[in-house]
Protein backbone atom coordinates (compact mmCIF):
# COMPACT_ATOMS: atom_id res chain seq x y z
CA UNK A 1 0.00 0.00 0.00
CA UNK A 2 1.30 3.36 -0.97
CA UNK A 3 -0.57 6.49 0.05
CA UNK A 4 -0.46 10.11 -1.11
CA UNK A 5 1.41 12.31 1.31
CA UNK A 6 0.56 15.79 2.44
CA UNK A 7 3.15 17.92 0.82
CA UNK A 8 3.13 18.10 -2.94
CA UNK A 9 0.17 20.19 -4.00
CA UNK A 10 -0.63 22.56 -1.16
CA UNK A 11 -0.73 26.18 -2.17
CA UNK A 12 2.25 27.33 -0.04
CA UNK A 13 4.20 24.87 -2.14
CA UNK A 14 3.19 26.67 -5.32
CA UNK A 15 4.50 29.95 -3.97
CA UNK A 16 7.78 28.37 -2.92
CA UNK A 17 8.01 26.65 -6.28
CA UNK A 18 7.70 29.97 -8.09
CA UNK A 19 10.36 31.52 -5.92
CA UNK A 20 12.77 28.63 -6.47
CA UNK A 21 12.11 28.71 -10.20
CA UNK A 22 12.72 32.44 -10.45
CA UNK A 23 16.03 32.01 -8.61
CA UNK A 24 17.02 29.08 -10.84
CA UNK A 25 16.51 31.20 -13.93
CA UNK A 26 19.04 33.59 -12.40
CA UNK A 27 21.39 30.68 -11.69
CA UNK A 28 20.73 30.84 -7.94
CA UNK A 29 19.21 28.83 -5.10
CA UNK A 30 17.72 29.74 -1.73
CA UNK A 31 20.74 28.48 0.19
CA UNK A 32 23.13 30.37 -2.07
CA UNK A 33 24.24 27.40 -4.16
CA UNK A 34 24.41 27.32 -7.92
CA UNK A 35 21.74 25.08 -9.51
CA UNK A 36 24.20 22.30 -10.27
CA UNK A 37 26.21 22.62 -7.09
CA UNK A 38 26.39 19.75 -4.61
CA UNK A 39 26.68 20.60 -0.92
CA UNK A 40 29.98 19.91 0.85
CA UNK A 41 30.66 16.22 1.30
CA UNK A 42 32.66 14.66 4.11
CA UNK A 43 33.47 10.98 4.34
CA UNK A 44 34.92 9.16 7.35
CA UNK A 45 35.54 5.45 7.12
CA UNK A 46 36.09 2.70 9.72
CA UNK A 47 34.20 4.68 12.33
CA UNK A 48 32.60 1.61 13.91
CA UNK A 49 35.24 -0.80 15.12
CA UNK A 50 32.75 -3.65 15.65
CA UNK A 51 31.61 -3.49 12.03
CA UNK A 52 33.77 -5.06 9.31
CA UNK A 53 33.34 -1.93 7.26
CA UNK A 54 31.72 1.40 8.03
CA UNK A 55 31.47 4.95 6.79
CA UNK A 56 29.90 8.15 8.05
CA UNK A 57 29.04 10.51 5.23
CA UNK A 58 27.63 13.98 5.48
CA UNK A 59 26.36 15.94 2.52
CA UNK A 60 25.38 19.35 3.78
CA UNK A 61 23.23 18.67 6.82
CA UNK A 62 22.32 15.13 5.79
CA UNK A 63 24.25 12.51 7.70
CA UNK A 64 24.36 8.81 6.89
CA UNK A 65 26.06 5.95 8.70
CA UNK A 66 26.57 2.64 6.95
CA UNK A 67 27.99 -0.43 8.62
CA UNK A 68 28.77 -3.80 7.11
CA UNK A 69 28.82 -7.10 8.92
CA UNK A 70 30.18 -10.13 7.12
CA UNK A 71 28.83 -13.58 7.83
CA UNK A 72 29.06 -16.84 5.93
CA UNK A 73 26.11 -18.73 4.51
CA UNK A 74 24.84 -20.75 1.58
CA UNK A 75 24.68 -19.16 -1.88
CA UNK A 76 21.45 -18.79 -3.85
CA UNK A 77 20.77 -22.05 -5.65
CA UNK A 78 20.78 -20.34 -9.05
CA UNK A 79 24.10 -18.59 -8.34
CA UNK A 80 26.21 -21.26 -6.64
CA UNK A 81 29.48 -19.53 -7.38
CA UNK A 82 28.68 -16.08 -6.03
CA UNK A 83 28.73 -14.45 -2.63
CA UNK A 84 25.69 -12.63 -1.38
CA UNK A 85 24.98 -9.12 -0.22
CA UNK A 86 21.87 -7.42 1.08
CA UNK A 87 21.14 -3.77 1.68
CA UNK A 88 18.85 -2.46 4.39
CA UNK A 89 18.06 1.14 5.15
CA UNK A 90 16.39 2.78 8.12
CA UNK A 91 15.16 6.35 8.32
CA UNK A 92 15.85 6.78 12.02
CA UNK A 93 13.27 8.86 13.86
CA UNK A 94 16.02 11.03 15.31
CA UNK A 95 16.89 12.20 11.79
CA UNK A 96 13.69 14.10 11.09
CA UNK A 97 10.31 14.97 12.53
CA UNK A 98 8.85 13.30 9.44
CA UNK A 99 10.35 9.86 10.20
CA UNK A 100 8.54 7.50 12.51
CA UNK A 101 9.85 4.57 14.53
CA UNK A 102 8.81 1.14 13.35
CA UNK A 103 9.51 -1.17 10.46
CA UNK A 104 10.93 0.46 7.31
CA UNK A 105 8.24 2.35 5.42
CA UNK A 106 8.08 2.69 1.63
CA UNK A 107 10.65 5.49 1.61
CA UNK A 108 13.18 3.40 3.52
CA UNK A 109 12.48 0.40 1.30
CA UNK A 110 12.96 2.54 -1.79
CA UNK A 111 16.25 3.92 -0.45
CA UNK A 112 17.56 0.43 0.28
CA UNK A 113 16.56 -0.83 -3.13
CA UNK A 114 18.10 2.14 -4.93
CA UNK A 115 21.42 1.65 -3.14
CA UNK A 116 21.20 -2.09 -3.79
CA UNK A 117 20.55 -1.46 -7.49
CA UNK A 118 23.50 0.93 -7.83
CA UNK A 119 25.85 -1.67 -6.37
CA UNK A 120 24.30 -4.73 -8.00
CA UNK A 121 23.69 -3.45 -11.51
CA UNK A 122 27.09 -1.77 -11.74
CA UNK A 123 28.53 -5.13 -10.71
CA UNK A 124 30.67 -3.21 -8.25
CA UNK A 125 31.42 -6.24 -6.10
CA UNK A 126 33.07 -9.20 -7.77
CA UNK A 127 30.79 -11.69 -6.08
CA UNK A 128 32.61 -14.66 -7.56
CA UNK A 129 35.54 -13.79 -5.33
CA UNK A 130 33.34 -14.13 -2.26
CA UNK A 131 33.00 -17.88 -2.45
CA UNK A 132 34.51 -20.16 0.18
CA UNK A 133 33.27 -23.48 -1.21
CA UNK A 134 31.35 -23.37 -4.45
CA UNK A 135 27.68 -24.05 -4.04
CA UNK A 136 28.07 -24.55 -0.32
CA UNK A 137 29.60 -21.69 1.58
CA UNK A 138 29.99 -18.06 0.62
CA UNK A 139 30.55 -14.71 2.28
CA UNK A 140 27.41 -12.72 3.01
CA UNK A 141 27.70 -8.96 3.34
CA UNK A 142 25.00 -7.19 5.31
CA UNK A 143 25.10 -3.55 4.32
CA UNK A 144 22.96 -1.59 6.77
CA UNK A 145 22.32 2.10 6.18
CA UNK A 146 21.06 4.47 8.85
CA UNK A 147 19.92 7.99 8.08
CA UNK A 148 20.99 9.95 11.16
CA UNK A 149 20.11 13.47 10.05
CA UNK A 150 17.86 14.26 7.12
CA UNK A 151 18.43 17.61 5.46
CA UNK A 152 17.30 16.60 1.96
CA UNK A 153 18.60 14.07 -0.59
CA UNK A 154 19.52 11.01 1.41
CA UNK A 155 20.07 8.98 -1.72
CA UNK A 156 23.45 10.25 -2.89
CA UNK A 157 25.17 10.23 0.53
CA UNK A 158 23.68 6.80 1.22
CA UNK A 159 25.30 5.40 -1.92
CA UNK A 160 28.54 7.16 -1.00
CA UNK A 161 28.53 5.72 2.51
CA UNK A 162 27.64 2.22 1.33
CA UNK A 163 30.38 2.20 -1.29
CA UNK A 164 32.91 3.80 1.10
CA UNK A 165 32.10 1.16 3.71
CA UNK A 166 32.45 -1.57 1.10
CA UNK A 167 35.72 -0.24 -0.26
CA UNK A 168 37.26 -0.13 3.21
CA UNK A 169 35.62 -3.29 4.53
CA UNK A 170 37.89 -5.93 5.97
CA UNK A 171 36.27 -9.26 5.21
CA UNK A 172 37.32 -11.77 7.89
CA UNK A 173 38.83 -14.81 6.19
CA UNK A 174 37.30 -18.25 6.57
CA UNK A 175 38.64 -21.56 5.38
CA UNK A 176 37.35 -25.08 5.26
CA UNK A 177 39.76 -27.29 7.20
CA UNK A 178 38.99 -30.98 7.61
CA UNK A 179 35.49 -30.36 6.39
CA UNK A 180 34.84 -27.66 8.99
CA UNK A 181 34.48 -23.97 8.35
CA UNK A 182 36.98 -22.03 10.43
CA UNK A 183 37.80 -18.40 10.93
CA UNK A 184 41.43 -17.69 9.94
CA UNK A 185 42.32 -15.58 12.97
CA UNK A 186 43.80 -12.21 12.21
CA UNK A 187 43.41 -12.50 8.46
CA UNK A 188 41.07 -10.47 6.36
CA UNK A 189 40.67 -9.49 2.74
CA UNK A 190 39.48 -6.40 0.93
CA UNK A 191 36.14 -6.34 -0.80
CA UNK A 192 36.82 -7.15 -4.47
CA UNK A 193 35.62 -3.89 -6.06
CA UNK A 194 35.34 -3.62 -9.85
CA UNK A 195 33.81 -0.18 -10.27
CA UNK A 196 32.80 2.75 -8.08
CA UNK A 197 29.11 3.42 -8.43
CA UNK A 198 27.66 6.73 -7.32
CA UNK A 199 24.18 8.18 -7.56
CA UNK A 200 23.02 11.66 -8.44
CA UNK A 201 19.63 13.04 -7.46
CA UNK A 202 18.34 15.63 -9.90
CA UNK A 203 15.27 17.77 -9.41
CA UNK A 204 13.12 19.37 -12.09
CA UNK A 205 11.14 22.61 -11.93
CA UNK A 206 9.60 23.37 -15.28
CA UNK A 207 12.56 23.49 -17.68
CA UNK A 208 15.28 23.84 -15.02
CA UNK A 209 17.36 21.23 -13.23
CA UNK A 210 19.01 21.30 -9.85
CA UNK A 211 21.10 18.71 -8.02
CA UNK A 212 21.22 17.56 -4.40
CA UNK A 213 17.95 19.24 -3.32
CA UNK A 214 17.30 20.60 0.16
CA UNK A 215 14.08 19.46 1.91
CA UNK A 216 12.34 22.67 0.89
CA UNK A 217 13.36 22.13 -2.72
CA UNK A 218 12.30 18.47 -2.58
CA UNK A 219 8.78 19.55 -1.65
CA UNK A 220 8.65 22.17 -4.40
CA UNK A 221 10.04 20.11 -7.29
CA UNK A 222 7.84 19.12 -10.22
CA UNK A 223 9.56 15.78 -10.10
CA UNK A 224 12.94 14.20 -9.43
CA UNK A 225 15.12 11.39 -10.66
CA UNK A 226 17.99 9.48 -9.07
CA UNK A 227 20.55 8.06 -11.48
CA UNK A 228 23.35 5.63 -10.70
CA UNK A 229 26.58 5.65 -12.73
CA UNK A 230 29.53 3.30 -12.82
CA UNK A 231 33.18 4.36 -13.30
CA UNK A 232 32.77 4.13 -17.09
CA UNK A 233 29.86 6.58 -17.10
CA UNK A 234 27.35 3.88 -17.85
CA UNK A 235 23.98 4.49 -16.27
CA UNK A 236 23.31 1.54 -13.99
CA UNK A 237 20.09 2.53 -12.30
CA UNK A 238 17.34 5.09 -12.56
CA UNK A 239 14.50 5.89 -10.23
CA UNK A 240 11.93 8.55 -10.89
CA UNK A 241 10.94 8.91 -7.24
CA UNK A 242 8.16 11.48 -7.22
CA UNK A 243 4.93 12.27 -9.06
CA UNK A 244 5.14 14.65 -12.00
CA UNK A 245 5.66 14.74 -15.76
CA UNK A 246 9.09 14.38 -17.30
CA UNK A 247 9.54 15.15 -20.95
CA UNK A 248 11.99 13.16 -23.07
CA UNK A 249 13.86 16.37 -23.73
CA UNK A 250 14.36 17.13 -20.02
CA UNK A 251 15.33 13.51 -19.44
CA UNK A 252 18.17 13.86 -21.93
CA UNK A 253 19.44 16.90 -20.05
CA UNK A 254 19.21 14.97 -16.80
CA UNK A 255 21.31 12.13 -18.19
CA UNK A 256 24.09 14.50 -19.23
CA UNK A 257 24.04 16.52 -16.02
CA UNK A 258 24.00 13.36 -13.94
CA UNK A 259 27.05 12.02 -15.71
CA UNK A 260 29.07 15.13 -14.84
CA UNK A 261 28.00 15.26 -11.23
CA UNK A 262 28.68 11.54 -10.88
CA UNK A 263 32.29 12.08 -11.81
CA UNK A 264 32.55 14.86 -9.28
CA UNK A 265 31.14 12.69 -6.49
CA UNK A 266 33.26 9.73 -7.53
CA UNK A 267 36.45 11.72 -7.30
CA UNK A 268 35.54 12.85 -3.77
CA UNK A 269 34.79 9.25 -2.83
CA UNK A 270 37.92 7.83 -4.40
CA UNK A 271 40.04 10.34 -2.56
CA UNK A 272 38.33 9.62 0.77
CA UNK A 273 38.76 5.89 0.60
CA UNK A 274 42.12 5.90 -1.11
CA UNK A 275 40.98 3.97 -4.14
CA UNK A 276 41.66 4.76 -7.73
Amino acid sequence: MSLSTKSPRMSPIKIMQNRIYELLKQGKRIDGRAPHEIRPVSISTSVIEKADGSAMVSMGGTKILTGIKVETGTPYSDRPNEGVFTVNAELLPLASASFEPGPPDERAVELARIVDRCIRESRAIDLEKLVITEGERVYMLYIDIYVLDYDGNYFDPAVLSAVAALATCKIPRYEVRNGKLERVEGESMKTPIRTIPVSVMIGVIQDRLLVDPSPMEERALDTSVILGYDSDSNIVSIQKNAPGLLSLNIMEQIIELGSKKAEELRSILVEAVGLG
Partner: protein, 245 residues
Protein backbone atom coordinates in the same frame (compact mmCIF):
# COMPACT_ATOMS: atom_id res chain seq x y z
CA UNK B 1 20.53 -9.32 -15.00
CA UNK B 2 24.01 -9.68 -13.64
CA UNK B 3 25.52 -12.49 -15.62
CA UNK B 4 25.13 -12.59 -19.32
CA UNK B 5 23.89 -16.01 -20.18
CA UNK B 6 26.32 -18.30 -21.91
CA UNK B 7 23.77 -20.89 -22.83
CA UNK B 8 20.62 -19.05 -23.69
CA UNK B 9 20.82 -17.27 -27.03
CA UNK B 10 18.80 -14.15 -26.44
CA UNK B 11 19.11 -12.91 -30.00
CA UNK B 12 19.49 -15.43 -32.83
CA UNK B 13 21.33 -15.11 -36.14
CA UNK B 14 18.31 -13.51 -37.76
CA UNK B 15 17.96 -10.93 -35.03
CA UNK B 16 14.97 -12.70 -33.50
CA UNK B 17 14.35 -12.92 -29.76
CA UNK B 18 13.74 -16.05 -27.66
CA UNK B 19 10.04 -15.86 -28.36
CA UNK B 20 10.53 -15.11 -32.05
CA UNK B 21 9.85 -11.37 -31.82
CA UNK B 22 11.81 -8.66 -33.57
CA UNK B 23 13.60 -6.23 -31.23
CA UNK B 24 10.93 -3.54 -31.52
CA UNK B 25 7.97 -5.86 -31.39
CA UNK B 26 5.47 -5.96 -28.56
CA UNK B 27 4.09 -9.24 -27.28
CA UNK B 28 0.43 -10.02 -28.00
CA UNK B 29 -1.61 -7.78 -25.74
CA UNK B 30 -5.17 -8.17 -24.57
CA UNK B 31 -6.82 -5.36 -22.66
CA UNK B 32 -10.34 -5.31 -21.28
CA UNK B 33 -12.16 -2.79 -19.10
CA UNK B 34 -14.98 -3.45 -16.64
CA UNK B 35 -14.11 -7.06 -15.85
CA UNK B 36 -15.04 -7.13 -12.15
CA UNK B 37 -18.47 -6.63 -10.62
CA UNK B 38 -17.89 -5.09 -7.27
CA UNK B 39 -15.26 -2.43 -7.80
CA UNK B 40 -16.11 1.00 -9.15
CA UNK B 41 -13.82 0.44 -12.12
CA UNK B 42 -11.66 -2.44 -13.29
CA UNK B 43 -9.48 -3.75 -16.06
CA UNK B 44 -7.68 -6.90 -17.12
CA UNK B 45 -4.51 -7.04 -19.14
CA UNK B 46 -2.47 -9.80 -20.70
CA UNK B 47 0.93 -9.01 -22.16
CA UNK B 48 2.28 -12.29 -23.39
CA UNK B 49 1.89 -14.53 -20.38
CA UNK B 50 1.81 -11.64 -17.92
CA UNK B 51 -1.73 -11.43 -16.53
CA UNK B 52 -3.02 -8.70 -14.27
CA UNK B 53 -6.26 -7.43 -12.79
CA UNK B 54 -6.65 -3.84 -11.65
CA UNK B 55 -9.58 -2.37 -9.74
CA UNK B 56 -10.49 1.04 -8.41
CA UNK B 57 -12.66 2.04 -5.47
CA UNK B 58 -13.70 5.60 -4.75
CA UNK B 59 -13.71 8.44 -4.34
CA UNK B 60 -14.84 7.17 -0.94
CA UNK B 61 -14.54 8.05 2.73
CA UNK B 62 -10.98 8.10 4.06
CA UNK B 63 -10.23 5.42 6.59
CA UNK B 64 -8.50 5.97 8.95
CA UNK B 65 -9.70 9.54 9.17
CA UNK B 66 -6.34 11.14 9.98
CA UNK B 67 -5.02 10.35 6.49
CA UNK B 68 -7.58 12.73 4.97
CA UNK B 69 -6.23 15.68 2.98
CA UNK B 70 -8.18 18.96 3.05
CA UNK B 71 -7.44 20.00 -0.51
CA UNK B 72 -7.52 16.80 -2.51
CA UNK B 73 -8.14 13.07 -2.55
CA UNK B 74 -5.67 10.61 -1.10
CA UNK B 75 -4.61 8.13 -3.74
CA UNK B 76 -3.81 4.71 -2.36
CA UNK B 77 -2.12 2.13 -4.53
CA UNK B 78 -1.23 -1.48 -3.87
CA UNK B 79 0.76 -3.62 -6.29
CA UNK B 80 0.51 -7.23 -5.21
CA UNK B 81 1.45 -10.57 -6.71
CA UNK B 82 -0.31 -13.88 -6.25
CA UNK B 83 1.89 -16.49 -4.61
CA UNK B 84 1.81 -18.67 -7.72
CA UNK B 85 2.39 -15.86 -10.21
CA UNK B 86 6.15 -16.41 -10.22
CA UNK B 87 8.48 -19.36 -10.75
CA UNK B 88 9.36 -19.80 -7.09
CA UNK B 89 6.29 -19.52 -4.87
CA UNK B 90 6.18 -16.04 -3.36
CA UNK B 91 5.54 -16.12 0.39
CA UNK B 92 2.37 -14.43 1.61
CA UNK B 93 2.69 -10.79 2.68
CA UNK B 94 4.23 -7.82 0.88
CA UNK B 95 7.85 -8.11 -0.27
CA UNK B 96 10.12 -5.09 -0.42
CA UNK B 97 9.78 -5.17 -4.19
CA UNK B 98 6.00 -4.95 -3.95
CA UNK B 99 6.28 -2.05 -1.50
CA UNK B 100 8.58 -0.14 -3.84
CA UNK B 101 6.44 -0.80 -6.91
CA UNK B 102 3.32 0.30 -5.06
CA UNK B 103 5.08 3.62 -4.48
CA UNK B 104 6.20 4.22 -8.06
CA UNK B 105 2.81 3.21 -9.43
CA UNK B 106 1.07 5.54 -6.99
CA UNK B 107 3.34 8.43 -7.92
CA UNK B 108 2.73 7.86 -11.62
CA UNK B 109 -1.05 7.75 -11.14
CA UNK B 110 -1.03 10.84 -8.92
CA UNK B 111 0.47 12.71 -11.84
CA UNK B 112 -2.63 12.29 -14.01
CA UNK B 113 -5.59 12.00 -11.64
CA UNK B 114 -7.39 15.26 -10.81
CA UNK B 115 -7.20 14.66 -7.07
CA UNK B 116 -8.17 18.24 -6.26
CA UNK B 117 -11.68 17.52 -7.44
CA UNK B 118 -12.32 15.15 -4.54
CA UNK B 119 -10.96 16.68 -1.34
CA UNK B 120 -11.31 14.61 1.87
CA UNK B 121 -11.84 11.38 -0.05
CA UNK B 122 -9.76 8.36 -0.95
CA UNK B 123 -9.24 6.64 -4.25
CA UNK B 124 -7.92 3.08 -3.97
CA UNK B 125 -6.15 1.37 -6.83
CA UNK B 126 -5.43 -2.34 -6.48
CA UNK B 127 -3.16 -4.11 -8.96
CA UNK B 128 -3.16 -7.89 -8.67
CA UNK B 129 -0.59 -9.76 -10.69
CA UNK B 130 -1.85 -13.29 -11.22
CA UNK B 131 0.98 -14.29 -13.53
CA UNK B 132 4.31 -12.52 -13.87
CA UNK B 133 6.29 -13.05 -17.04
CA UNK B 134 8.12 -9.75 -17.28
CA UNK B 135 6.79 -6.20 -17.43
CA UNK B 136 4.32 -6.53 -14.57
CA UNK B 137 4.69 -2.98 -13.30
CA UNK B 138 4.20 -1.51 -16.77
CA UNK B 139 1.29 -3.80 -17.62
CA UNK B 140 -0.05 -3.10 -14.13
CA UNK B 141 -0.11 0.66 -14.54
CA UNK B 142 -1.58 0.32 -18.03
CA UNK B 143 -4.44 -1.65 -16.49
CA UNK B 144 -4.71 0.64 -13.46
CA UNK B 145 -5.19 3.77 -15.54
CA UNK B 146 -7.83 1.97 -17.57
CA UNK B 147 -9.59 0.93 -14.36
CA UNK B 148 -9.53 4.57 -13.23
CA UNK B 149 -11.12 5.60 -16.51
CA UNK B 150 -13.66 2.81 -16.11
CA UNK B 151 -14.48 4.17 -12.65
CA UNK B 152 -15.10 7.58 -14.17
CA UNK B 153 -12.27 9.24 -12.26
CA UNK B 154 -11.19 12.35 -14.21
CA UNK B 155 -7.60 12.23 -15.45
CA UNK B 156 -5.50 14.49 -17.65
CA UNK B 157 -4.59 11.45 -19.75
CA UNK B 158 -4.39 7.70 -19.64
CA UNK B 159 -1.07 6.11 -18.77
CA UNK B 160 0.40 3.45 -21.01
CA UNK B 161 3.64 1.66 -20.31
CA UNK B 162 6.15 -0.91 -21.39
CA UNK B 163 9.70 -1.94 -20.58
CA UNK B 164 12.70 -1.70 -22.85
CA UNK B 165 15.51 -4.12 -22.24
CA UNK B 166 19.03 -4.70 -23.41
CA UNK B 167 19.85 -8.27 -24.27
CA UNK B 168 23.03 -9.49 -25.92
CA UNK B 169 23.84 -5.84 -26.57
CA UNK B 170 20.58 -5.16 -28.40
CA UNK B 171 17.76 -2.94 -27.22
CA UNK B 172 14.47 -4.79 -27.20
CA UNK B 173 10.93 -3.61 -26.62
CA UNK B 174 8.62 -5.15 -24.03
CA UNK B 175 11.07 -7.58 -22.48
CA UNK B 176 9.84 -10.85 -21.11
CA UNK B 177 10.94 -12.74 -18.03
CA UNK B 178 13.81 -14.67 -19.62
CA UNK B 179 15.21 -11.55 -21.24
CA UNK B 180 14.96 -9.77 -17.92
CA UNK B 181 16.72 -12.60 -16.11
CA UNK B 182 19.58 -13.13 -18.55
CA UNK B 183 19.79 -9.73 -20.18
CA UNK B 184 21.85 -6.67 -19.29
CA UNK B 185 19.17 -4.11 -18.54
CA UNK B 186 15.46 -3.65 -17.87
CA UNK B 187 13.96 -0.19 -18.10
CA UNK B 188 10.25 0.14 -17.30
CA UNK B 189 8.73 3.32 -18.69
CA UNK B 190 5.23 4.71 -18.29
CA UNK B 191 4.08 7.76 -20.22
CA UNK B 192 1.09 9.96 -20.80
CA UNK B 193 0.78 9.27 -24.52
CA UNK B 194 -0.86 12.53 -25.57
CA UNK B 195 1.81 14.66 -23.94
CA UNK B 196 4.56 12.11 -24.62
CA UNK B 197 5.88 12.61 -21.08
CA UNK B 198 7.32 10.13 -18.66
CA UNK B 199 5.41 9.43 -15.42
CA UNK B 200 7.28 6.33 -14.29
CA UNK B 201 10.89 5.50 -15.04
CA UNK B 202 13.25 2.97 -13.55
CA UNK B 203 16.37 1.22 -14.74
CA UNK B 204 18.01 -1.96 -13.55
CA UNK B 205 21.17 -2.67 -15.49
CA UNK B 206 23.79 -0.91 -17.53
CA UNK B 207 23.25 1.34 -20.52
CA UNK B 208 25.28 4.10 -22.08
CA UNK B 209 23.72 7.54 -22.38
CA UNK B 210 23.13 6.92 -26.08
CA UNK B 211 21.47 3.59 -25.47
CA UNK B 212 19.29 5.14 -22.82
CA UNK B 213 18.05 7.82 -25.19
CA UNK B 214 17.31 5.25 -27.88
CA UNK B 215 15.58 3.05 -25.34
CA UNK B 216 13.34 5.91 -24.28
CA UNK B 217 12.43 6.56 -27.90
CA UNK B 218 11.70 2.88 -28.42
CA UNK B 219 9.51 2.84 -25.31
CA UNK B 220 7.66 5.89 -26.54
CA UNK B 221 6.81 4.14 -29.81
CA UNK B 222 5.59 1.02 -28.07
CA UNK B 223 3.54 3.04 -25.62
CA UNK B 224 1.66 4.70 -28.48
CA UNK B 225 0.53 1.28 -29.68
CA UNK B 226 -0.54 0.21 -26.23
CA UNK B 227 -2.47 3.44 -25.85
CA UNK B 228 -4.49 2.56 -28.94
CA UNK B 229 -5.41 -0.76 -27.35
CA UNK B 230 -6.53 1.08 -24.20
CA UNK B 231 -8.71 3.40 -26.25
CA UNK B 232 -10.25 0.43 -28.04
CA UNK B 233 -10.90 -1.31 -24.73
CA UNK B 234 -12.66 1.77 -23.43
CA UNK B 235 -14.72 2.17 -26.55
CA UNK B 236 -15.77 -1.44 -26.35
CA UNK B 237 -16.64 -0.99 -22.71
CA UNK B 238 -18.64 2.17 -23.29
CA UNK B 239 -20.50 0.69 -26.21
CA UNK B 240 -21.36 -2.29 -24.04
CA UNK B 241 -22.46 0.04 -21.31
CA UNK B 242 -24.57 2.01 -23.79
CA UNK B 243 -26.20 -1.17 -24.97
CA UNK B 244 -26.84 -2.26 -21.41
CA UNK B 245 -28.40 0.97 -20.29
Amino acid sequence: MMTESKEIKLIDEEGRRVDGRKPDELRPIRIEAGVLEKSDGSAYIEVGRTKIFAAVFGPREVHPKHLELPDRAVLNCRYHMASFSVDERKPLGMTRREIELSKVLREALETVVFLEEFPRTMIDVFVEVIQADGGTRTAGITAASLALADAGIPMSDLIAATAVGKVAGTLVLDINDIEDKYGEADMPVAMTPRRNSIVLLQLNGRMTSEELKKALEMASQGIKKIYQLQIEALKKRYSVVSLEE
